[in-house]
C-alpha cells in the first residue's frame, strides 16, 4: 500500500509537471486551431485597452460597471456634451462576482461621484466562467484574480490560467485581434457600426444563482460604504423574461432602477447589433435618454 501511495503521489507530480509543459508547448496552438478547453485571447471588449486607460484617469464623474451591455450602450462622447466625465468598466459577460473584483480594484482609485450599475438579468444566472476568462485575458494577474479563477471550478479557466502563467514566464504578448466592425472609444465605450442580421431568441425565465445575488448585494454594500450614489440600469434587448415582475421587484428593492426596455422602444431591425446588444445608433439614443438622469443625480449629489 505504501508503495502504491508513494507511486501515486509521484505520478500525480509527474502528470502536473507534464501538463504544465504540455500547455507551455502547445497551449497556444491548441487554443487557436482547435476547440480545446483553453482560451487566452481578448475576443471582444477591448479590456486590455480599457484597463490601461482606467489607470490613467484622474477625475471622474460617472463610473459604469456591468457586462458588455454597459460598454456597448453608453457613449462617453455624448455624455461629455452634458459635461459629464464618464468611464466604462464593463467587461464581457461581467457577472457580479467579477464586478466585485473590479470594484475592489478600481473604486478607490477612480473615486467616481456616481455609479451606473448595469444589471442585465442574465448575469445573475451565469456561472461567471466566460467573464473570468475575459478578465484573465486582459488584466494583470494578481492574487484576487487567481483566487476568483480557482473558485470557478472550471477546467477551461484552469487551463487558461496555466497558459497565462506561461505567457508571463516567457514574456510573450497576447495577440490582439479585434473585430473590424468594432472600435474602442476613449472612456471605455465600444462602438459597433452597422446592423447585424440576427435570429430572435425565445423569452427566458429568470432564475438567479444564489452566489450571484450574494455578490450583487455585496457590491451594493461596497458602494454604499463609500457613500457613492448609484443607479441600477437595464439596457434594452430584444426578448423578455417570463417572470419580469420578479426581476423588477428585486431590483427596485435594491436601488433606483431604470429599465430601458420599458422606458424606450427601439426598433430591433435598426438599433441592435445582435439580439441583446445595442449598436452605435441604439447606444446614441440610450445615452441621450440617460444623460439627463445622470446630470440630475450628479446635481443632487453636489447639493
Amino acid at each position: 500500500m505504501r508503495s502504491f501511495l508513494l507511486n501515486l503521489l509521484l505520478f500525480i507530480v509527474f502528470v502536473v509537471i507534464t501538463y504544465f509543459i504540455g500547455i507551455l508547448m502547445v497551449g497556444d496552438i491548441l487554443m487557436r486551431r482547435t476547440n480545446a478547453n483553453i482560451m487566452y485571447e481578448p475576443e471582444s471588449g477591448f479590456n486590455a485597452i480599457r484597463f490601461s486607460e482606467a489607470n490613467e484617469i484622474e477625475e471622474l464623474d460617472v463610473l459604469f460597471i456591468g457586462s458588455s451591455h454597459s460598454y456597448r450602450s453608453f457613449d462617453p462622447r455624448i455624455l461629455n456634451q452634458y459635461k459629464l466625465r464618464t468611464f466604462n468598466l464593463g467587461t464581457s459577460s461581467q457577472t457580479h462576482v467579477q464586478t466585485n473584483y473590479i470594484l475592489n480594484e478600481y473604486l478607490n482609485e477612480l473615486n467616481p461621484k456616481l455609479i451606473v450599475y448595469e444589471v442585465y438579468p442574465n448575469t445573475f444566472m451565469s456561472d461567471g466562467v466566460e467573464s473570468t476568462l475575459n478578465l484573465l485575458s486582459s488584466h494583470d494577474m494578481d492574487f484576487s484574480l487567481a483566487k476568483m479563477s480557482i473558485a470557478t471550478g472550471d477546467l477551461t479557466v484552469y487551463n487558461s490560467f496555466i497558459n497565462i502563467i506561461s505567457y508571463k514566464i516567457t514574456g510573450r504578448k497576447v495577440k490582439e485581434n479585434y473585430p473590424t466592425e468594432e472600435k474602442y472609444i476613449n472612456g471605455g465605450y465600444v462602438e459597433t457600426v452597422g446592423i447585424t442580421n440576427f435570429s430572435k431568441v425565445k423569452d427566458k425565465y429568470w432564475k438567479p444563482r444564489q452566489e450571484q445575488l450574494n455578490a450583487f448585494e455585496e457590491n451594493l454594500e461596497l458602494i454604499k460604504a463609500r457613500n457613492i450614489p448609484y443607479i441600477l440600469v437595464e439596457a434594452p434587448y430584444t426578448y423578455n423574461y417570463l417572470n419580469r415582475d420578479e426581476i423588477d421587484k428585486y431590483l427596485n428593492d435594491k436601488g433606483e432602477f431604470y429599465n430601458y426596455n420599458k422606458l424606450i422602444k427601439l426598433d430591433e431591425n435598426i438599433y441592435f447589433k445582435d439580439y441583446h446588444h445595442l449598436n452605435h445608433a441604439g447606444a446614441a439614443i440610450l445615452t441621450t435618454t440617460i444623460a439627463p438622469v445622470l446630470v440630475k443625480k450628479m446635481t443632487q449629489t453636489n447639493y
Binding site: 424606450i264 445608433a281 439614443i285 441621450t288 439627463p292
Partner: protein
C-alpha cells in the same frame, strides 16, 4: 460694492445655466453647426438628433428649431441660421420641417415683414447664437426668475430638458386623462388661431431662401411632421394648396420632400400636435432612414 457683489452672484448663477434652465438657452450656447434640424416646436420636441446621428453614423446633426412664435420662416430665422452655420461645411444635412403655420402670419397683412411677430423675440434681439455662456440671452430673454436656474436643477427632467444636441425633451404625464385635458385645450387655442392665421407669400419666399442658402453647405430635406387628425384638418384649412406648393418647391430646388402626415401609423402626441418622445424616436428613425436611402441611392 453691493452692486458688484450682486453682479458676481448673477454671473455665478448665469454660469450654472444649462439645458434645464429653459427650453432654448443651450441652443444659444452651442457652437457653430454643420447639420441642422429647422422648424418650430413640433421639430424641436419631435426630432431627436441622437437618433438621426445614430442611423446615419454621424455626430453633427443639431436641432435648431424653436417655436412657431420664434422660428417661423422669415428674415429673423434665416439670419439666426446664417449665424449658427459653420461656413466651412460641405456635406451637411439640413432637415427643414415645414407646416402651414411656419409659412403663415397672423396679421392682416401677412406679408408685411415689419409686422412679423418674431421681430422682437430672442432670435432677433440676441446677437449671438454661439456664445457660451450667453449672458446676452440670459440678461435680455430669460423669462423666468433667475433663481429658477438653480431650483430647476433639482427637478431636472421632471418637465422638459433641452439636450446639448438641441432636442427639447418633454416629460409629461401621458395618462389618457391628462392627455385629453391638454388635447382639448390645445384644440381650443388653435381654433382661435385659425381665425387669424393666413398663408404668407413673404414667409414662403424666406422658406425658399433658407433652402437655397443651406444647399451651399450640403443636402436639404424637406419634411412635414405628422400630427393627429384634428390638428391635420386645422393645418390644412390654413392653406389648402400647401402640399402642392411644397411639392413644387421640392422640384424647383431638387430637394426631397417627405410628407409624414400621410403615414398610416398612429403616433403618440403630448397634446395632439407635438410628438411624444417615444414616437419621436420612431419618426426620427424614419426620417434618418429616408435620408440614408436618398444619400446612398440618389
Amino acid at each position: 460694492m453691493f452692486l458688484m457683489f450682486l453682479s458676481l452672484i448673477a454671473i455665478g448663477i448665469f454660469l450654472l445655466a444649462d439645458g434645464n434652465s429653459d427650453s432654448y438657452y443651450t441652443n444659444f450656447t452651442s457652437s457653430k453647426q454643420s447639420s441642422l434640424i429647422l422648424g418650430t416646436s413640433k421639430a424641436a420636441q419631435g426630432l431627436q438628433p441622437a437618433v438621426i446621428n445614430g442611423v446615419l453614423n454621424r455626430s453633427d446633426v443639431n436641432n435648431f428649431a424653436f417655436t412657431v412664435a420664434h422660428s417661423p420662416y422669415g428674415p429673423v430665422y434665416l439670419k439666426a441660421i446664417k449665424k449658427k452655420i459653420d461656413t466651412n461645411t460641405k456635406d451637411g444635412i439640413f432637415i427643414v420641417t415645414v407646416d402651414p403655420y411656419s409659412v403663415s402670419g397672423r396679421h392682416k397683412d401677412a406679408n408685411d415683414v415689419g409686422l412679423f411677430r418674431e421681430n422682437d423675440k430672442f432670435l432677433a434681439t440676441v446677437s449671438s447664437v454661439t456664445s457660451n455662456p450667453n449672458f446676452e440671452y440670459l440678461y435680455q430673454e430669460y423669462s423666468y426668475p433667475y433663481i429658477y436656474i438653480l431650483t430647476k436643477k433639482c427637478d431636472y427632467i421632471d418637465d422638459d430638458f433641452l439636450h446639448p444636441d438641441g432636442w427639447n425633451e418633454v416629460n409629461i404625464s401621458m395618462k389618457q386623462k391628462d392627455f385629453e385635458v391638454r388635447n382639448k385645450s390645445k384644440i381650443k387655442s388653435y381654433k382661435k388661431l385659425l381665425k387669424v392665421y393666413k398663408f404668407s407669400d413673404k414667409r414662403y419666399e424666406y422658406f425658399e431662401k433658407t433652402i437655397s442658402f443651406l444647399k451651399d453647405y450640403g443636402d436639404v430635406y424637406i419634411v412635414r411632421l405628422p400630427v393627429s387628425t384634428p390638428f391635420l384638418e386645422m393645418e390644412n384649412s390654413v392653406y389648402k394648396e400647401f402640399d402642392n406648393k411644397i411639392t413644387s418647391t421640392s422640384s424647383k430646388f431638387n430637394v426631397p420632400y417627405l410628407d409624414m402626415t400621410k403615414d398610416d401609423k398612429e403616433y403618440e402626441y403630448t397634446d395632439g400636435n407635438h410628438l411624444y418622445k417615444t414616437s419621436g424616436v420612431e419618426v426620427s428613425t424614419l426620417i434618418a432612414k429616408w435620408i440614408f436611402n436618398h444619400k446612398n441611392f440618389k
